[in-house]
């Protein structure tokens, strides 16, 4: 199917089903129940899950395949976002030009940064990309305020020129749309106590994510993808096999920069504003964490990692003391207090602590990320292979090219 082998096609179909059914899957708990706190099936979070999935998929093409660890990819996401919002301010609220231009601008910017940074490798490369990103952030926040809005960012206003759109009535909110279909349109499905929200913006983002995921599978299975893994494995042999590794890594860098730009453009399409903080180094660090947490170099890992972190950020951070007290209200007072006291430091404002602990646990016990965890669980169920090396074999199997 689509030029994929059976296994990859299967993976794509699974991801597609998961993405399309996300409003159901992410809302497993009935409205009003205590567990409803853990529901993630609302448009904003679903959109963020797939958009950061795209970001991580793109980052994985660079880091997972070539091993070049960029610490500045948030800059491309930010530049893409700024490009998109300017298209919306100047041209039209239709998301297509915004997204296309954000990919192009991010691609050009990554070409410049990549061309310079790829002159070095290892940690020197990482620091070069970090330096570019930090400069972009610092300038966007301060002296570039006329272009970027600085601290307060940019939002579309009804007073913007928008040459392609009809003028809005005074005071009307410009809304991002796809040929008239507004990103925030949607409908709800009610089944018993469950309420599921279907949102146009989410489905547009999800389709884009599926295309991005499909392209990343094609890249992984292409001769180009193999060359990138060769760069990671042995650059010396690469050079003595008549291959110029520079254009390969630069191409990977630009592709991943364009993915970041796409994610940035989509972020603006779904939520029409940009702030400079999305270029700060911690945002670049976040995509590194997503990729490694999920499993660098695997196809599905980055998407899992992105989902995991965004879920933590948006769900766990909202559990406050009164929510906890509600949960344990059925228990005797003393036990309730103890439980709340134990759990409270890890949720709500303590969500960073939980995140940090989870990173450590994953890195210590699951070096291959969540994908390795999944494989181990799979192994336990299958029990067909007692071989200690089976995990590595499995990982190798996943890396196998389509040729075989």
């Amino acid at each position: 199917m689509f030029g994929l082998n059976k296994k990859d096609a299967g993976l794509l179909i699974v991801v597609a089903i998961l993405a399309l059914a996300a409003p159901f899957i992410l809302n497993p708990f009935p409205e009003g129940s205590a567990m409803a706190q853990f529901n993630a099936g609302y448009p904003d979070l679903m959109q963020r899950l797939v958009i950061f999935g795209i970001f991580a998929i793109g980052f994985n093409i660079l880091f997972g395949l070539t091993g070049y660890l960029s610490f500045g990819h948030a800059a491309f996401l930010g530049v893409g976002s700024y490009a998109a919002i300017w298209m919306m301010k100047l041209l039209t609220m239709n998301v297509i030009p915004a997204i296309v231009v954000s990919i192009i601008i991010a691609g050009l910017f990554s070409l410049l940064v990549g061309f310079i940074s790829l002159r070095r490798s290892g940690i020197y490369f990482s620091i070069l990309t970090l330096a570019f990103a930090q400069m972009s952030y610092a300038l966007a926040y301060s002296v570039l305020t006329p272009i970027t809005g600085g601290e307060t960012g940019l939002q579309p206003k009804y007073t913007d020129p928008r040459v392609l759109d009809k003028a809005l009535e005074a005071g009307q909110q410009p809304r991002a749309n796809l040929f008239g279909l507004e990103m925030n349109q949607g409908f709800q499905l009610e089944m018993g106590n469950w309420v599921f929200t279907f949102n146009a913006g989410y489905y547009i983002a999800a389709v884009v994510m599926l295309v991005a995921f499909y392209l990343s599978i094609r890249i992984f299975r292409s001769p180009f993808g193999m060359m990138l893994r060769a760069v990671k494995s042995n650059q010396q042999r690469m050079n003595y096999t008549g291959l110029n590794s520079k254009p390969y890594t630069l191409a990977a860098f630009v592709i991943s920069g364009m993915y970041a730009g796409l994610a940035g453009g989509l972020l603006v399409a779904m939520d029409t504003q940009v702030g400079a903080e999305r270029m700060f180094w911690t945002a670049s660090g976040e995509v590194v964490l997503m990729t490694i947490l999920g499993g660098a170099g695997t196809l599905i890992g980055p998407v899992l990692g992105a989902g995991f972190i965004k879920y933590m950020e948006n769900i766990v951070s909202k559990i406050n003391k009164s929510v906890l007290e509600q949960w344990f209200a059925f228990m005797p007072d003393g036990i309730e207090d103890v439980l709340v006291a134990i759990i409270y430091p890890f949720v709500g404002k303590g969500w960073h602590l939980t995140l940090g602990l989870l990173f450590m646990l994953v890195v210590i016990f699951l070096p291959g990320g969540l994908v390795e965890g999944g494989q181990r669980i799979g192994k336990m169920f299958r029990r067909r292979d007692a071989n200690a090396n089976s995990i590595e074999a499995d990982a190798a199997e996943q890396r196998k090219p389509a040729a075989e």
Binding site: Y124, I127, Q134, M135, V288, A296, L353, G356
Partner: protein, 343 residues
């Protein structure tokens, strides 16, 4: 002229702080080959050792004073530090005033203990893992440590003043024959500069002139061979980690009066210290120190208003710009060795 002198002085001071932080990072990388993203957190813990120590000194019991009222109209609760009971109020005040320098006595053992625990409990298992794993696990640890500090001390900066003997500033201008008040510099920053110089010199001397240092340096160059010689290099590396943690810790403790410590200061310093280390050349101690001073002085110059008028925003990016230029002209930083951290 006096403006330039002042910024050189200022840059030296700033540079000494950068160099001191970068030194510990380089020690760990150079000896153990581990990229320690939790190094900023060690600096943070050092600063909070000073905070904790001054809190301990001011531990109080409550005396209810019926003659005064608090803001709600209840009788005022007056806190009397135990240290007053022990030494009397006058001596007690002096001790509390000197809390930061005294806290070094507390910081050093605590930091060495933390360093040992970190190395034995966590880092040891990561020597053979890829650098990316080391970065990730220590980054996770940095988050956890910062959050623990936040849990106990909140997010607000905590004022930790230097002893009042060091309040105010020294007038270099008057000494050098310029107008008074043109080149002034705070006493505590001068103390910090001297302190940094002593620590940096101490670490170099220790590595250069002691047998322990020689073995460690040999181990930095070739770990396996030293191991083959029957020397327990692992144990020495643990000690080295403890020393590096202590260096970071005392750097943090002494820094507390300069910037009131808050839980995020480790992260603030992390990126900066990495830039310094990389510009200096991974694993090179003199490189780290040199880069620290270089970046400190350049940053000071970039913040001069004459410079800012011609190049607005240069103060925002100077460090990164210099880092890029240096890395493009000198592939492995100022004094880096070939093949270190290049893959």
């Amino acid at each position: 002229m006096d403006a330039i002198l002042l910024q050189i002085l200022n840059g030296m001071d700033k540079g000494s702080a950068y160099a001191l932080i970068a030194l510990g990072l380089t020690l760990i990388f150079g000896t153990l080959g581990v990229v320690n993203f939790a190094h900023g957190a060690l600096f943070l813990i050092g600063a909070f050792c000073a905070v904790t120590f001054s809190k301990i000194l001011s531990l109080s019991h409550v005396v209810i004073d019926e003659s005064q009222k608090d803001f709600l109209g209840n009788p005022l609760k007056v806190e009397v530090p135990y240290i007053y009971d022990m030494f009397g109020q006058a001596t007690g005040d002096v001790i509390i005033d000197w809390a930061v320098p005294l806290s070094l006595l507390f910081t050093v053992p605590v930091m060495i203990a933390i360093g040992f625990a970190m190395e034995r409990g966590l880092i040891k298992h990561f020597y053979k893992r890829p650098h990316a794993d080391q970065i990730l696990v220590t980054f996770g640890l940095a988050i956890v440590l910062a959050e623990i500090v936040k849990y106990f001390y909140g997010a607000n900066p905590i004022p930790t003043p230097a002893p009042s003997a060091f309040a105010g500033s020294f007038d270099f201008g008057a000494m050098l024959g310029f107008d008074p008040n043109t080149i002034i510099y705070p006493y505590w920053r001068l103390v910090y500069f001297a302190f940094a110089a002593v620590i940096i010199g101490g670490v170099f001397a220790f590595l250069q002139f002691t047998t322990f240092g020689m073995v460690v340096r040999a181990g930095m160059a070739d770990r396996e061979t030293v191991g083959l010689l029957g020397i327990n290099i692992d144990k020495r590396f643990t000690i080295m980690f403890g020393i590096a943690a202590a260096v970071a810790g005392v750097a943090g403790a002494m820094y507390a009066p300069i910037n009131s410590p808050n839980y995020n200061m480790g992260m603030d310093f992390l990126v900066l210290s990495f830039v310094v280390v990389v510009v200096g050349g991974m694993g090179s101690l003199p490189g780290a120190v040199l880069a620290g001073f270089l970046l400190g002085i350049l940053e000071s110059f970039a913040s001069m208003s004459v410079v800012l008028e011609t190049l607005p925003g240069i103060n925002q990016i100077i460090i990164y710009l210099v880092a890029i230029i240096i890395l493009l002209t000198r592939p492995r930083g100022l004094m880096g060795r070939k093949g270190v951290m290049e893959d």
